[in-house]
Every structure is written in structure tokens, then in C-alpha cells.
């Protein structure tokens, strides 16, 4: 594959192929940072990929008490799905099981969006007619009595129809430690980009997949071209000096945000350099025919 070089890091002349998704977000607040983070972590759990989860979700950023609607510590989370209906179902389930149950939390919408999802309006009935509606500045909130006081939840949450899911970077290095060092730096840099999340564990996925399988009925299987232990026996895409590949998958509210996140990730990897970090950066695609969003690495270089 033709390659460019930045500070000794080889960058494939390739592109990441991403897909349209529906996205939404919440601001979760709690009496202290610990419980805001706990709520966000649980609410975004088991939400790595829509292949097997109901949505892809992650923490966008932490919010100081000055930045939240109720002046308490908060966390902004984003969730993405293939359709508005799918996101709505996932969000309502997750708020009901993870946030209604979490001590001290309150839930607010964080975007106007193209349409509204009924979140508080769907779970107000948990209050068994003791729930109280509060309208403020055109928004409705529900106060649902619970055993630690009240669960405050905004009635409707905004949803953006045209988001982007599946922006990605393949980070390739000599061994696990150096590759992880570069990838973690990239994830941290992407974390600074607003409106984007990296939904996999710690923002990193090690089991990149290809379409199809030798087994009947399996739509996806391990991406053997990028498995370092198969370098000699498969049609490998890896160079001799590559011993580990980690992938970062990025979902964002807009096309530009995903591009910005990838740019920030590449910059962080290049900054560390090939000796301490990754030797090569690639991107995953399906030939460009499946996803309408293409992020060419050569356009995102520092």
C-alpha cells in the first residue's frame, strides 16, 4: 500500500469508511462526581457496537457544576444507533435500568436535535401517579419519587438523525506496549474533541473484523489480514516490523467532528513517534461502496 510518512510514522494512503447513524445525548448529574461518573459508566456499558448491542454509547465529556442545568457535577454521554427508533428504545431502556436506579442522578437533554425522544415522558409512570411535572422555559421535567428522594428527568431528549458512526484508525506497532502507548494517547486526544465518542473498551478495539466467514451463517469474522500471528500464512496487510494492531472506532454527531477526532488521534500518534509508539497508521474500509462517509488519512495529517 502506498504510504506517506510523518516524523517517521508511516501513514497508509487509505481511508476510513463510516456510516450514517442516529445519535442522541444526555447530561447526567449527581450530588458528586463519583456518582455522576458511575451513572455514566453503567449507562454506556455493553454499548460497543451495534452489531451486537442495542446502541453504541460512550462518555463525551465531564461537566463542572457551572456547566450543568442543576449546578451539580455532571457527565455528557452520547448514544448512536442505526435508526431513531432503535436509539429511542435503547435510550429509554438504559435510562430506566441504569439512571433511574442510580442513586442521586438527574437526567437532562443536551441537544435540540431534529426530533424528540420521549425519555422522562416514558418513565414518569414509575412514579405511580405520585410523579410531578415541572415546566420551565418550554421544557418539561418529571420529578419521580424514589427511595433516595426524587429522580429528575427531562421529558423529551433531542435526537440528531444524520450522525456518523464508524470513523476509525488502525494503529500498528512493534509490540503490544508501544502500540498501546500510541493508541491510548490517540484516544485521550480524541476525548478532547466535543461531540465524539470512542465506544469500545477504553476507546480501543483489538478484534477488528472483516465481512464474511468460512463458517456458514457468520457475517463477520476476524480480520486475518491484520492479525500479526498470521502474517506468514495469510494474505497479510502487515509489514515485518508490525507485531500488534489496535483500532479506534469513532462515532460523532457530525461528519466534521469525526474528521476532527481522527485528525486529533493521528496527531497524537505522530507526536509520540515510531520508537516509543506506533510505526504505522491505517484505516478500515470496505472498498468505499458501503458507507457514504470517507475519511482519507492524507487529508487529516498534522
Amino acid at each position: 500500500m502506498p504510504q506517506l510518512t510523518r516524523k517517521g510514522v508511516r501513514i497508509d494512503d487509505s481511508f476510513a469508511e463510516a456510516f450514517p447513524m442516529a445519535g442522541t445525548g444526555l447530561v447526567i448529574t449527581a450530588p458528586n462526581r463519583k456518582w455522576a461518573l458511575t451513572a455514566a459508566q453503567v449507562m454506556t456499558g455493553y454499548a460497543t457496537s451495534v452489531i451486537g448491542c442495542d446502541c453504541e454509547a460512550g462518555v463525551d465529556c465531564e461537566l463542572s457544576p457551572k456547566e450543568t442545568p442543576d449546578g451539580r457535577p455532571g457527565v455528557r454521554v452520547l448514544a448512536f444507533g442505526f435508526s431513531p427508533k432503535a436509539v429511542e428504545k435503547a435510550l429509554v431502556n438504559r435510562v430506566g435500568q441504569c439512571l433511574l436506579t442510580c442513586p442521586g442522578t438527574a437526567v437532562f437533554s443536551t441537544m435540540e436535535g431534529d426530533l424528540k425522544i420521549k425519555v422522562g415522558d416514558s418513565m414518569r409512570q414509575f412514579g405511580d401517579r405520585w410523579q410531578i411535572s415541572k415546566a420551565l422555559d418550554g421544557k418539561r421535567y418529571w420529578r419521580v419519587p424514589v427511595m433516595d428522594g426524587e429522580f429528575l428527568v427531562e421529558g423529551q431528549v433531542g435526537l440528531v438523525k444524520k450522525c456518523v458512526g464508524g470513523g476509525n484508525l488502525l494503529v500498528m506497532g512493534e509490540d503490544w506496549e508501544s502500540t498501546m502507548r500510541a493508541t491510548e494517547a490517540a484516544v485521550a486526544a480524541i476525548g478532547e474533541v466535543a461531540d465524539a465518542i470512542t465506544p469500545f473498551p477504553g476507546g480501543i478495539v483489538r478484534s477488528g473484523s472483516k465481512v464474511g466467514s468460512k463458517y456458514k451463517g457468520m457475517n463477520a469474522s476476524t480480520n486475518d489480514a491484520y492479525c500479526p500471528t498470521l502474517k506468514g500464512v495469510t494474505n497479510s496487510a502487515l509489514d515485518p516490523d508490525i507485531g500488534c494492531v489496535l483500532e479506534i472506532v469513532i462515532d460523532g454527531l457530525t461528519d466534521a467532528v469525526v474528521a476532527d477526532a481522527m485528525r486529533a488521534g493521528i496527531k497524537a500518534i505522530v507526536t509520540i513517534g515510531p520508537k516509543e509508539g506506533a510505526k504505522r497508521i491505517g484505516a478500515g474500509n470496505y472498498g468505499g461502496k458501503l458507507g457514504p462517509f470517507h475519511y482519507h488519512l492524507k487529508d487529516l495529517l498534522p
Binding site: T29, P31, P69, D70, G71, R72, A106, W130, I132, S133, K134, A135, L136, D137, Y141, R143, G149, E150, L152
Partner: protein, 269 residues
């Protein structure tokens, strides 16, 4: 662009119906046409030009230099995006049935201010009369949305049949504060007298001073309410005193259990 200015020439001798003087009704009118609008309510005809000296300006923002307790129905049916400021007093029915916009009154307001209002922002720097946000006779509900701030005192029956919206009173309230309220939120920084929250169905009455609320209000303990903190943040620009009150740990008295009983009175714990 400067606002369209109405300077009062002399104190009116009869009650005035100022409902025609809202921005949406004045846009596109020449000054002479505005001056010809009839605003009298008796057999003695009074036109705008007789009482006000007009200076041209942006009709989306009206400025009244000088007011009177005879200024009735000012800002009636005001629409979103428009504003009215009165440097003086106003009379009966300020912002009556307004659906949006902003009204600021530097002086006092008469009875039934914000009656039937469904949206918008009304700020009264002085006192307000009886039935603040209340319905007129025969109407089912009072104010059904928007925000009202009164810096001074209010008369009797403030928040009568309040349906929705937020009312902040920084001064004292007259008799039967929050009586018959259907829903909504009223915050009172001063003192109240009489039957507070009498027949309140679902409204939240937040009072800075606790008194005996009678046997139909039931103590539910002291709590930190997330909703109160949300309201404190939202009201901080309008009333720091209200925001401070809402930021506190609050004692909840549920009631009025003589009726629906889903309402509450909240006071600092």
C-alpha cells in the same frame, strides 16, 4: 434601532384600554395612524396622540416614558419576539393573555397582571395588585405559562388558579397566596398571610418563611431537591433571592390534601 417611544403628556383622567398598542398591531403603521388609535373607555374620546407624544422607532420594542394606574390591558396578547417597557405604573390586566415577549414595568402594576398569560416574561419592579396571574371571572385557569417577576409586594390571591409557569415574588404576599392553584411554581421571598395554598392541587409554593400551614398540609421531611437546583440555576438572572432560596435544603409539606393533594409547600429546612 431605538424603540418606538410613547411619552406621556399628562396624567389620564379616565381608564385607558391600551390593548391596541402592542408591537404586532403597530408594525407597518405610520406615526399618524398610531396617534389616531382610540384608547378611551368612556364617552369622552381619547386618542393615542392626545395623551402621548410619539417618537418614531422600532415598533418591535415599545417604550412608554411615564405610566399611570389607568394604563389597563397593556401588552394584551403580546407575541413572542416583541417587548414593551414602561417607565412608570400600569393598571389592570398587564400582559393579559400574552403568549410571549418581554414586558418590564419600572413602577407598580394593578390587579390581574399576567392573567391568562401562556408565555413570555413579565418583570414588575414595584408592587402588583390582587389576583396576580389569576383568571377573570368565569375563566377556569389563570396563567398557563411564562415567567413573572415582582420585586415588590403583591395583593391578595396571588397565583389564583395558576395552571403552569413560574412566578417569583420578592416582597410580601396578601391573603390567600397560591389559593386554588392548579399547577405551576410560585416562589415567595417575603411573608404571606391568610390561607396559604388553600385548595392547591398540584402547584409548588416555595416560601422563605415558614408558618403553620394548617392540618391539610402534611410534613414530608427535609430534602435536597434536584428540581429546585434546576430552577435556582434557571432563575438566577431574574432573581438572586429566589435562586438562593431554591438552592437550600427544603422542607416539604404535601397538600392541599383537602383537594387533590399533589401540590406542595417548600420552606427552608
Amino acid at each position: 434601532m431605538k424603540p418606538l417611544l410613547f411619552t406621556l403628556r399628562h396624567a389620564p383622567t379616565q381608564r385607558l384600554d391600551l390593548s391596541p398598542l402592542t408591537p404586532d398591531r403597530l408594525i407597518g403603521r405610520a406615526l399618524k395612524e398610531t396617534e389616531a388609535i382610540e384608547i378611551g373607555t368612556t364617552e369622552v374620546a381619547i386618542k393615542v396622540g392626545d395623551l402621548f407624544k410619539l417618537r418614531s422607532g422600532d415598533p418591535r420594542a415599545l417604550h412608554f416614558e411615564g405610566g399611570s394606574e389607568h394604563f389597563d390591558f397593556l401588552g394584551q396578547k403580546l407575541l413572542p419576539g416583541f417587548s414593551i417597557h414602561v417607565e412608570g405604573d400600569v393598571g389592570f390586566g398587564l400582559a393579559r393573555n400574552a403568549t410571549g415577549g418581554r414586558i418590564t414595568v419600572a413602577g407598580d402594576a394593578g390587579p390581574f397582571a399576567a392573567s391568562g398569560m401562556s408565555g413570555g416574561h413579565v418583570a414588575i419592579e414595584g408592587d402588583a395588585g390582587d389576583f396576580l396571574c389569576g383568571p377573570l371571572a368565569g375563566e377556569i385557569a389563570g396563567m398557563s405559562g411564562g415567567r413573572v417577576i415582582v420585586r415588590g409586594n403583591v395583593g391578595a390571591r396571588a397565583g389564583d388558579r395558576l395552571r403552569r409557569g413560574v412566578v417569583v415574588i420578592e416582597g410580601d404576599a396578601g391573603a390567600d397566596f397560591g389559593a386554588r392553584a392548579i399547577a405551576g411554581t410560585i416562589i415567595l421571598n417575603g411573608k404571606a398571610e391568610g390561607r396559604i395554598g388553600y385548595l392547591n392541587r398540584r402547584a409548588s409554593l416555595v416560601l422563605a418563611h415558614s408558618v403553620d400551614f394548617g392540618p391539610t398540609y402534611v410534613d414530608c421531611g427535609a430534602h435536597n431537591f434536584a428540581f429546585a437546583k434546576l430552577f435556582a440555576r434557571a432563575l438566577a438572572d431574574d432573581s438572586r433571592r429566589a435562586a438562593r432560596l431554591l438552592s437550600q435544603r427544603l422542607q416539604r409539606y404535601a397538600g392541599d390534601t383537602a383537594v387533590y393533594g399533589k401540590g406542595e409547600i417548600l420552606t427552608p429546612a
